[in-house]
Symmetry: C2
DNA sequence: TGTACATCAGTGAACGCGCGTTCACTGATGTAC
DNA sequence: TGTACATCAGTGAACGCGCGTTCACTGATGTAC
C-alpha cells in the first residue's frame, strides 16, 4: 500500500479543510480583508489559537483558497476548449460548462470575482498568476486550430486573454442570475453565447 | 446672484469632501468592508462622531464614492463614442481616454474595480446601476451608426455591454501597469486597441 | 509485543487595543423682529 | 442695524465588545528500542 497518512495527519487535514470551508462560507457576505481569524475558528468549533497551526494569517488562508478554487476550474477549461468539432459547438459547451461550474461551486466563483481586485495583495497576485496560466493553456489549444495560421505568439496571447476575460464576465453574469428566474439564466446563456460568437467571428476575419 | 450657500453649508461640504477624499486614500490598500469610521475621521482630523453628521455608515459613504467616481467618467465616454470619424479612430481615442482617466483618477478607478464585486451590497448595486446606464448610453450612440442597420435592440444592448466590459478590463490593465515601465503601458495600449478592433471586426461581419 | 520518551494539534486564560455608538455639550452661524 | 433666540456641525467622555496574539498546557499519536 502507498504511503498512508497517520491518524494525526488525517485529522489535521480535516481541520484545515473545515477552516477553508468555513471561511468560504463567511466570505459570501464580506471580503477577505475584513474576515477575522476568530470568526473562522468560531464557525468550525475550534479554539482561535488552533488557526495558527494551519495558516499564518487570513491572507495566507486566502491564498490557499485561490489554489482550491482555480484548481477545480483548471481541468474543466482544458477539456472544453480541446474537444469540440466546430466553433459554435465549442462556444455552446464552454458557456454550458461555465453555467454548471457556477451552480456547483458558487462560493468559489464569488470568492475569485471578489478578491481578484480585492484589498489583499498576496491573494490578488495568486489569482493573477493562475489566470495567466489559464491564458497560456487556452493559447496552446488555440495554436492547434487550423484557423490560427498566420497568427503569431502575441496575436494568440491577446486572443487567449480575451477569451479568459470573457469567461470570467460570463461566470459573473451567471452568479448575478443565480437567485433570480430561470428565464434570466436563459437570457445570460444567450447573451454570453452571442458575445463569444462575436469574438469568434472577429477572429476569423482578423486581418483577413 | 444665484442662491449662495451660507458659511455653515460651505464648511459642511468641505468636511464631507475631506471624509470622501480620506476614505478613497485609505481604500487603496484595503476594501470598503474593512474600512473603519474612526480611521477615516482620524485621517481628516475630526472627532469620530462628526462622521454621523454626513453618513450613516461606511457603506453609505461608499455609495457616495460610487456617484463621485462614475460621475467623473460619464461625460468622457459619451464624448469619445460620439465624435469619431471611423472605427479605428474611435477605438484609438477610447483607449487613450481610458489611459488618461486612469492616470488622472487612479484611486477612483481602483475603488470601482475593487468594490464592483466587493463585500458591501449597496455599493455593488450602485455600481451595477451606473454601469447599466453607461451601457444604455453606448447603445444609443451605436444605434446612430450606419453599421447598425439590421441590428435590433437586444443586439445593440449586447454589443454595448461587450464594449463597456472591455473598457473596464482595459482600465484594469492600465491600473496594473501604472507602477511599472512605460513600455508596459505601451503594451497595454496595443493589446487593448487590438482587442477592441477584434470586437469591431466581429460586429461588421456579424450575421453578414 | 511492550515500554519509555518525543512530537505536536488543539486548548484556554490573559493581554492590550481599537472599534462603533450614545449622549449631553459648545459655540459659531442663521433668523425673526 | 441691533438684539434675542434657534439651529446644528463638530466635540469629548464613556460604554461594552470582539479582535489578534502570547504563552504554558494537555493528552493522543508516533517512534525507538
Amino acid at each position: 500500500m502507498s504511503h498512508t497518512l497517520g491518524i494525526r495527519q488525517v485529522q489535521k487535514q480535516k481541520t484545515r479543510q473545515a477552516l477553508l470551508d468555513a471561511a468560504l462560507g463567511l466570505l459570501e457576505e464580506q471580503s477577505l480583508s475584513s474576515l477575522g481569524l476568530r470568526e473562522v475558528t468560531r464557525a468550525v468549533g475550534v479554539a482561535p489559537t488552533a488557526f495558527y497551526r494551519h495558516f499564518r494569517s487570513t491572507a495566507d488562508l486566502g491564498v490557499a483558497l485561490v489554489e482550491e478554487a482555480l484548481g477545480s476550474l483548471h481541468p474543466m477549461i482544458r477539456q472544453t476548449v480541446a474537444t469540440a468539432e466546430d466553433s459554435d459547438q465549442r462556444i455552446a459547451r464552454a458557456v454550458q460548462l461555465i453555467a454548471d461550474h457556477v451552480d456547483t461551486y458558487p462560493a468559489h466563483v464569488r470568492f475569485l470575482a471578489r478578491e481578484r481586485h480585492g484589498g489583499v495583495q498576496p491573494v490578488r497576485e495568486a489569482i493573477r498568476d493562475q489566470l495567466a496560466r489559464f491564458a497560456e493553456e487556452v493559447k496552446a489549444e488555440l495554436a492547434k486550430d487550423p484557423e490560427s495560421g498566420g497568427w503569431d505568439d502575441s496575436d494568440l496571447m491577446m486572443l487567449a486573454h480575451l477569451y479568459v476575460d470573457q469567461m470570467l464576465i460570463t461566470a459573473s453574469l451567471f452568479m448575478e442570475a443565480r437567485e433570480t428566474s430561470d428565464e434570466e439564466r436563459d437570457r445570460v446563456t444567450r447573451l454570453a453565447t452571442r458575445q463569444m460568437r462575436l469574438i469568434s467571428v472577429g477572429r476569423r476575419h482578423w486581418l483577413g
